[in-house]
Point group: D2
Chain length 335, copies 4
């Protein structure tokens, strides 16, 4: 019998992915926490699933022995449930945007609604283990990063830190996401006939994931041109990142910067200089794949960063954080 | 009985699109010119198509009364056939890259092979009617623009001409194309299982369409970061173009520049300021749709340009050029 | 100025297709009739469409000079609007299921709701021109056939009439449809992530299109096994029809039956014996393509019937009917 | 260190799936066996995979300590390599059609080529564990079933055995497969632009998988109408199976027959009466999902059977067979 871990929002795409990962985790087992906001039927199999179910209420922490709860819920539900589950004794990993920014003001600015659990903002750890591992280990509340910022920060931060970007020329992040990133709730834009054989941009220069990138990467908003775009695929995020070099560096020079930064990271994979990742390479994995093509003579450089938005961009990273919080090996259940 | 127009390469995606367009053109009718390099079977309908067929040889110009020939063929076939069809009395619209650059040296640099009809380079008109209409009208050989350069030049050139781009910060063109842009010849990269649920970049910073953009737009190579990427769709090109403003302009200011430039153009459609096109809007049309989002305070600007790669990016533009060369109304058969 | 034809439900997939067809019809022009039940925004193009708009009310018949109205609406809206538009003087082509069955009882049995315009059922002509051309010509109300029944009836009826089917062994119609057949209203089942990389059956043995097939083809319900299935594509219906031969016939013998039946039909295309159609062949056309493979020795036979569900299965057939009703050549605007 | 298992054809879709499964198998580890017929490049990751490689030659059995070899190769390669690997001491699971039929004559009839290892046909066990478990356990050569026959036999055989099918009316199996079933070699029919937004039938009534169904299910060829069709998806097979009931049975009655047959089977899942599976339910699993809808009054019945063609239809079933042959728990590495 493994450690019991609750999942609220298990019918959504991120939540279902978390259930899948926890069901094969050697030390944990998932408990489905039913919330009134859930919709959708179960599959009509004759033999029912043996995964336990309980209400998404704090009482379930004691009754089910939950050590951790993953919230794959909208921000308002997360702001409601997080203090209750924390108070009941579970650690919480929240996959929404509720606790990603540092202040209630900043939250209101980007999410266009009041923060109703602002007192938790200070103690929430930002769950990007590659840069915040120790904080995550000690936190009782981890805010799981957004999908776009995960791919962007892992690619941009080492280069900003190394000072190789000509900041005055700006940084462009052209991001493309599979449709599952928009969640499971039916909407015209994400219906099959609208999305198939199509490609469209949205939230150009004002996506609510932008402040997360700024916070972690050290880039300024005025420097950062970010476009989110909808790919006619189920899952995957690929970001094509453009900047100008502050000094003449080759693709190999830039890959070497990443190698130094990520030498011991289990979930960052680098491509040979001059080669870049695609989405098939990261599908259903917790990897972030990074590749570089640069032209030292003209100073142009392109970095491609790829993740599975439901794994490293959501449920996989949540399990990675959970492993850290509960004291399991960080990569357990994820390789 | 309309004017007879031959198509070589009618089994390829661009060639088949040209046949489709010419079959409903009020003044023309297509003649399929069979070339040894063609492969593929015809559909097994009981009643055979009544579209005429003839060999892809110069004799067919006289025997079929061809006034124009469209070459939807690889560059080496185009370099072989173009002088023959011209000599036989037809005008030629070549859809390959054979005659798009100005010199044999430049051709060799980007296409990695010798030019075998270099004497025709000087007289070949570059068939982007929005900027070269009079030359096209008088030309006997028109080089039909590449798909990526068509979308890029129509978006970039007016802004370069207006001097609103901070050239030192560079221009990024993040281009995405449907798979038909790679042609009909089977290859691993364009097979269904490799392309579906995937997205990948190729020819980063060194795509052979780059010199066409430079020639027409007035941008310098060192300023221009271009990435071609493969979308898991049949047809459509969307380019997300990023630059920094040389002066504080709003989305509306920039759209106004396009309006002045394209006021009388039948195939350019502009979006309201702050809105951008998608690929469904241009599918199976000869339109190039353009939209702008700019932030005057920070100087960031994004332009989105969308075409159907097989129509405005190939066969449609070829028919537009043919109309100009044969004296028909420019938009005939294309609206 | 062409004859004005109103379309209610122009934002739906069938309605939009009707607008597209009428916009290029040489004798007609579309008028968009706005109905309260419509939702969705218009594309944000700077230059607005010049297609006229009016309310979906009977007054618009006079004010806009409408000769015909196409209702691409749900049955309840069609039952409400049809008598009003007829009374105002327009002929009506209804694309819903409201007037396809012969009695209110039959309607209630299959559509699970009361018929609110039952007095019109008797005078409504079933708009399958290949079998009901004269009735359609004289009708003021035409009920446009369902998408599945169009493909099924055109394939099955000639064989039933020829008496070549072993009726006791039953007839199987395994039908597959693109997602647009489910309409434009967002729903979980038709959302991109649920439909892509999936295939699923629904309404097995009890689809509401079944009685239409029985009515026209002459097959009995107990003989007819019909399954509707959802293809991860935008548009197209392909039906694979299985039966056992009442006598030993070859593929060529069966194709000959179709040839005799459909010799003068502009929209039926037959394949050579032993070859069958696919969906690319009929996409965006008003054709129904039919092919046969039979094994005389064992008595097994397979017929494949393919249409575009939005054209021959909806808007195209509606225009075909409209042409007949208004006295235009039947195929006008459809080839 | 697990037991070493070689895979020939590891760059193909089935072979790659086998590598993936063996890499996470608790008792085995994969060894990639390079064969001259392989093509394709490796991913350009900086840190190379640690999976061992060796030539696809019998010497590798000793040098690498291979206990089993999986051949994910075309029949001619399988006929060449199988005797060599057997002689070198490994057990062989062959995923091709080379050893699925019982005689060289039958092989030639359906595969249109001579059998070059006919002496092995008698000792080859047909690897459908649900019906041949003990033979597989004792075999040194297992012929892994075809993808279509796996889904068909698991659905049809219990019903034939129970005598509930009206055999005279025939059995229809309308089968649909994802494109990966056609293998990885580029071909026009499986290229993205040909397959996307399309659906097409092939090998109607004469697919080479038919004799496998006849052998195992007990159906006669003249009774069995089988059509293979290409779905625009990567992976998955769904078969819609139609027959007439020999006696009046409900959906629940028929499901009960399956329940009795498959009570202890780890990889067969049944749906509640009146519900049927889809492809998402089986994707990337070794399950075969089965559902039934029947109408006792008219005698019509429909069974839907779904598998992942690369798992239960190929590599997963191969690992299941390997587990039996090597003495591991049958489901190990597959749940």
């Amino acid at each position: 019998m493994g450690t019991s871990v609750g999942i609220v929002g298990f019918r959504g795409y991120s939540g279902a992915e978390a259930v899948r990962l926890l069901a094969s985790h050697p030390d944990c087992e998932p408990v489905l926490l039913e919330h009134r906001a859930d919709s959708g039927e179960d599959v009509k199999l004759l033999r029912k699933s043996t995964i336990r179910r309980a209400p998404a209420s704090p009482e379930s922490v004691a009754s089910e022995g939950l050590k951790a709860v993953l919230l794959a819920t909208p921000p308002d539900v997360s702001m409601d449930l997080t203090p209750k589950f924390l108070h009941a004794g579970a650690v919480v990993i929240d996959l929404s945007g509720a606790f990603r920014l540092r202040t209630a003001e900043r939250y209101k600015q980007w999410y266009k609604e009041e923060h109703t659990a602002a007192d938790l903002l200070e103690s929430a750890a930002y769950g990007l283990p590659e840069y915040n591992r120790e904080c995550v280990r000690q936190a009782r509340l981890v805010s799981n990063p957004g999908c776009y910022p995960t791919a962007a920060n892992l690619a941009i931060r080492p280069l900003v830190a190394a000072g190789i970007i000509d900041r005055g020329a700006g940084i462009v992040c052209d991001a493309k996401s599979g449709v599952s990133g928009a969640g499971r709730k039916p909407a015209l834009k994400t219906s099959f006939c609208e999305a198939t054989e199509n490609f469209s941009a949205y939230s150009i220069l004002n996506h609510r994931h932008i402040p997360e990138v700024l916070l972690t990467s050290g880039v300024e908003e005025r420097e950062f041109s970010f476009t989110a775009q909808l790919l006619p695929i189920d899952r995957g995020i690929l970001e094509t990142i453009y900047f100008r070099l502050a000094k003449p560096l080759s693709s190999a020079d830039i890959i070497a910067i990443y190698e130094r930064q990520y030498a011991d990271e289990p979930f960052i994979r680098l491509y040979e200089p001059g080669h870049v990742p695609d989405l098939h390479g990261v599908a259903r994995t917790n990897f972030c794949d990074i590749g570089v093509i640069a032209d030292p003579a003209s100073g142009r450089a392109v970095v491609v960063s790829a993740i599975d938005n439901l794994v490293k961009g959501a449920a996989g990273q949540a399990v990675q954080n959970m492993n850290l919080m509960l004291g399991y090996p960080e990569a357990e259940g994820l390789l």
